[in-house]
């Protein structure tokens, strides 16, 4: 028998054009039935509706536990249940945090946005608008897994914490820019906990998840506070929420125990009304801020537009073009990707155009999202320069995760619970 190797080249030339019907389907003499083809489905429309309904139910329960029942234990139990279901069972892919990206792509590139994805993205925001960040408290599996390991939370000094809270808006802007230009879904790609939920993934992802969890022992929920891009949106909605969790059920007695109990540093101390400033200093201060704001906005836009060049490499087309250029210059050997590209019949010019188009889109989009980040920073600056009067300790609505740890720290709450128990007896 001749080895196949000697037959193959002649076969290849003989059958170069038509792929099918090189070997006509045989007429079987005996009765022969080919095995049935199986096409496993991907769940049903009903299944997706149930997913959305479960998310809504979990959010409703979380709001009830945080605002109505005022039960830290209930919130903790619900968060473990949600971690088990949305995290480990659904393997982290029913995710409002990641849903930012298909929404951004639909808004900026006009791609199709499935209703289920839109619902998963919007539900936590709508709940935040009514009840604060109850999604973070008990529903989000990424938060729940960090909440479980927050055993010895330490306070972060203000000069370190304040700049770190500027990172999430930058991450959000990057995610919007890269998803909006169809370059990459960075939130999913660099999600540190999904590899743990799936128990698979690349080594970097798993190590990042483990490191964040180890850090989370002493620094409570580091991803939520200093990275999470969805938390930025939730914070804005929560800032103007209709109702929000209150620390004390009645009047604050300013004992400071709640502020000590909050591992996230999200409780604002009482603040007397600002003493009236002499007019010349006030004018000078206002002038400085008014000069600084446009500069911050422009710097943001310029920075993001510049970042477009390295960011473009997140898309495989850019890397492929670089690889092909290196090969043409004789500085690299053909890779799997470049080899497949040559066999696919796509033209290098087509690739070049796609890469150039993406670079342009990243540059243009970079200006917009960068300036938006600048506006956010400028608003922070303005907010920091205004002193508002606060009579008691209050949750910082932007950063409060509605976890309910402060309930048990409040002596007024204990008095209320005792009274409630007495009346029930």
């Amino acid at each position: 028998m001749r080895p196949l190797r000697t037959i193959l080249p002649s076969l290849a030339t003989a059958f170069a054009a038509q792929a099918s019907d090189r070997f006509p389907k045989p007429d079987f003499e005996a009765a022969y039935q080919p095995p049935a083809e199986v096409w496993p489905g991907a769940g049903t429309a009903l299944g997706e509706a149930i997913d959305v309904a479960l998310l809504a139910a979990a959010l409703g329960l979380a709001a009830h536990l945080a605002l109505g029942r005022r039960s830290r234990r209930g919130i903790a139990v619900l968060s473990v249940v949600c971690l088990a279901y949305f995290g480990f069972w659904r393997r982290g892919c029913l995710c409002a945090v990641g849903a930012i990206q298909p929404v951004a792509e639909a808004l900026f590139r006009g791609t199709e946005l499935p209703l289920a994805t839109a619902a998963i993205f919007l539900l936590p925001l709508i709940f935040a608008l009514f009840f604060g960040r109850v999604f973070c408290a008990a529903v989000c599996p990424l938060g729940a897994i960090q909440d479980l390991v927050a055993w010895r939370p330490q306070r972060l000094s203000r000069w370190l914490a304040s700049p770190l809270t500027l990172v999430p808006p930058i991450y959000l802007a990057l995610a919007l820019l890269l998803a909006g230009t169809g370059s990459a879904y960075v939130i999913c790609r660099f999600d540190p906990f999904v590899p743990l939920f799936r128990l698979s993934g690349n080594l970097h992802g798993i190590l990042a998840g483990i490191c964040l969890l180890l850090l989370g022992v002493v620094l409570a929920r580091p991803y939520c506070r200093f990275l999470c891009p969805y938390g930025v949106l939730l914070g804005w909605f929560s800032r103007f929420s209709w109702r929000h969790l209150t620390i004390t059920p009645e009047e604050c007695i300013r004992c400071r125990l709640c502020a000590e109990s909050c591992p996230f540093d999200a409780i604002l101390p009482p603040q007397p009304a600002a003493a009236p400033e002499p007019l010349p200093t006030a004018v000078r201060r206002l002038g400085r801020i008014l000069v600084a704001c446009p500069l911050i906005v422009l710097a943001g836009g310029w920075g993001f537009a510049r970042a477009g060049i390295p960011l473009a490499r997140l898309h495989s087309d850019t890397r492929l073009l670089e690889q092909i250029a290196l090969e043409e210059a004789g500085m690299a050997v053909p890779s799997v990707e470049s080899d497949a590209f040559r066999r696919s019949g796509r033209l290098p010019d087509e690739l070049r155009q796609s890469v150039a188009g993406r670079r342009r889109a990243l540059g243009r989009g970079g200006w917009w999202v960068g300036m938006a980040v600048g506006v956010v920073f400028a608003a922070r600056l303005l907010g920091a320069s205004v002193r508002r009067r606060r009579d008691g300790y209050e949750p910082d609505r932007l950063h409060c995760l509605s976890c309910g740890r402060c309930f048990r720290a409040c002596p007024v709450e204990h008095a209320r619970l005792r009274r409630k128990a007495a009346t029930e007896e």
């Binding site: 080895p3 196949l4 095995p35 489905g41 298909p102 839109a118 919007l122 898309h315 799997v336």
Partner: protein, 167 residues
């Protein structure tokens, strides 16, 4: 508010159900990245077999290694690195080839052999009972021929030989 409104407006244009990733067999060149790029330990991409296109060859280019020492089921002769193709004698000289999906890793070596030298009845598809449906498919981000695209969840396969789909 504006975010909500714009999102709802975008959602009204789109389908009610989520869309899923699938491989267009016409664009696939079997580079092998499917086997290694999936987020799952064993890729959700599997080889599927369209029996209507198969020639039932005794000398199957998807089954046998190009330099196979002998044409029998010995492991050294097989193209498939995991032995996921089952070869069954039907009648002289025809043989039936079935894919054991629990063994298939989606490397596409058999698909390449069958597409280049045979009828092209073997092809790669994302199996949706295995796939975890990432919003951004990790394989799609590295696919050098852009063979991955989103398809409606109601009919999430691009079948070869079927009306209007694939080749």
């Amino acid at each position: 508010m504006a975010v909500c409104g714009a999102t709802l407006a975008a959602a009204r244009r789109g389908p009610a159900r989520r869309t899923l990733w699938q491989i267009d067999p016409a664009a696939c060149v079997q580079c092998g990245l499917c086997a290694t790029s999936c987020v799952l330990p064993v890729s959700a991409v599997k080889c599927v077999h369209n029996f209507a296109m198969c020639g039932y060859c005794r000398l199957c280019f998807g089954y046998f290694e190009a330099d196979a020492p002998a044409l029998n089921a010995g492991a050294e002769n097989q193209m498939c690195p995991t032995g996921a193709i089952q070869r069954r004698f039907v009648e002289d000289p025809y043989h039936e080839y079935t894919i054991r999906e629990d063994l298939c890793i989606g490397c596409g070596r058999c698909v390449k052999g069958c597409t280049d030298f045979g009828n092209g009845s073997l092809y790669l598809q994302v199996r949706h009972d295995v796939c975890v449906h990432c919003e951004e498919c990790a394989i799609a981000t590295v696919c050098p021929t852009q063979a991955f695209r989103r398809v409606p969840a109601d009919d999430p396969y691009l079948r070869k030989g079927a009306a209007g789909e694939g080749t």
